[in-house]
Amino acid sequence: MKTLRQRNIRDYIMVSLLVLSTVLVLTPLIIIIGYVIINGLGAISIDFFTQELGSPARAMQGRPTGLVHSILGTLVVDTIGVILAIPIGVGAGIMLSEYPEHKLNPLLRVLNDTLNGMPAILKGLLAFAIIVRPMGTFSGLAGGVALAFVMIPIIARATESALLTIPWSIREAGLAIGLPRWRVVMSTIVPAARTGLITGFLIAFARAAGEAAPLMFTSFGNNYLPTHWTGMIFGPVDTLPQRLYSLAISPYAEWHTMGWAAGIVLLVFVVALFTGAQLLTRQKAL
């Protein structure tokens, strides 16, 4: 038996350790955010959000230059990815959680886990093979497909665990009033799990939005805006993560600053999305 004093000391030590690990987790995050902002703020201007990048000469000669084409391209490619990934990922998640007895269930589980563990660059290769090759051109569509491959397995697993939190009795109640099984799932189980689903979408999206590797030989990159907006879907298009990388490895100091600024935009983008979705789910929750 330990004395009360000894137990109090132990408690104090444990709490201190927890605080320490929290600090260790937060420190790199704060350093990264701070460093990105300090280095990139100089390049943020109206031009940054309204001009396309063009050739290095533009930045060196102080002519207007910016990343509007990368920002718009990111929105287009990410949107395509999300539009493809959500229905497929949710469908696979429903299969995993609601139809455990189905013949395809174990196979789906293995394939989904394999896809999840596969390096992102291979997903880019896959999209290259099935979209870029047949179409004969790099495209935003191919980039979106590559990002969808990143998101699908994450969404599927998140959907599965969100649906499994809904008690089995709700499903039985739905069946007992003569609803077909898929109807019960779509109208009672999925809506009840919506907070978990949205969290899953966000985690998947945050993961995909920062990926540069799968975009390298799919959306490829572009220093200019296409003449028509459909060029972003059917032609090579720029994205922030990939542009950030190519600016960073360029030999021009001006472009390095713009790379940091691209980092700021990417950060704000993801944080805004998370906050927005958080508010949305909180508001709708009963």
Partner: protein, 290 residues
Amino acid sequence: MNINVLFKKKKPKEDKMSPDFQPQEPDLLYREIHMNGSPPIRMEAKNLTVKYGTVTGVKNVSLPVYNEKVTALIGPSGCGKTTFLRALNRMHDLTPNAKVTGEVLLDGNNIYAPRVNPVTIRRKVGMVFQKPTPFPTMSIYDNVVAGLKLVGIRNKAFLNEVCEKALRQAALWDEVKDRLGSPGGSISGGQQQRLSIARALAIEPEVILMDEPTSSLDPLSSSKIEDLINDLKKKYAIVIVTHNMQQAARVSDNTGFFYVGDLVEFGPTDKLFTNPSHKRTEEYLTGKFG
């Protein structure tokens, strides 16, 4: 208004008054009973056995469910009452390791026959569970009409009518009529249980199965549900599982006593309670075990 009006395409054959219409040949036993003028049997289990893997839930049970009567199922915990009840509306279909053998007749037709769709069976045989199960994201109104709305019935006037009728039958209307839009989970446990009953009634089943519907309720709510059962039996066949002997005696016309998977005794409630023919039944009723 009859519910079938809204299922124009799915109108049951019986409604067709064409000259070549032939009613389905009923099971012989069913016809015999009707001809004898004894109370009509709505459902009947014949040699019903349910196994969970190697565990036997109920074995070889044969039991009739009479129309416009309440059938109570009693017996100690774990002896197969729930298992039997769930076999009556094919609720075991989704239990991965459950295997049902034998027959359950509904209006003379075996619900376990090949090609019978369990969904149509469950529309005729409704079920109320031990714990209230309102659909979490739906309003009180949507909960009640879920069985209609979610299969495509959109007629507002009709849904309103069904909702009010079902809630009145479930003795809940007066308590919730001013807040039909609030979430189904926002009312008390007893009210939620009556909501679950209203939801089962809204689809106008023929048989209602109730698994310990009052076990989580206070005495006042329980007595409301008992009143409700007395009321409902004018129109439906009801099967109720209960651990409350007084309740079984109060509400039921027939009682079946289950013991370790066997139906030990089945008969009119008065007789079973006052003069049971089996020793086990007597011991259970007098509190020697269970």
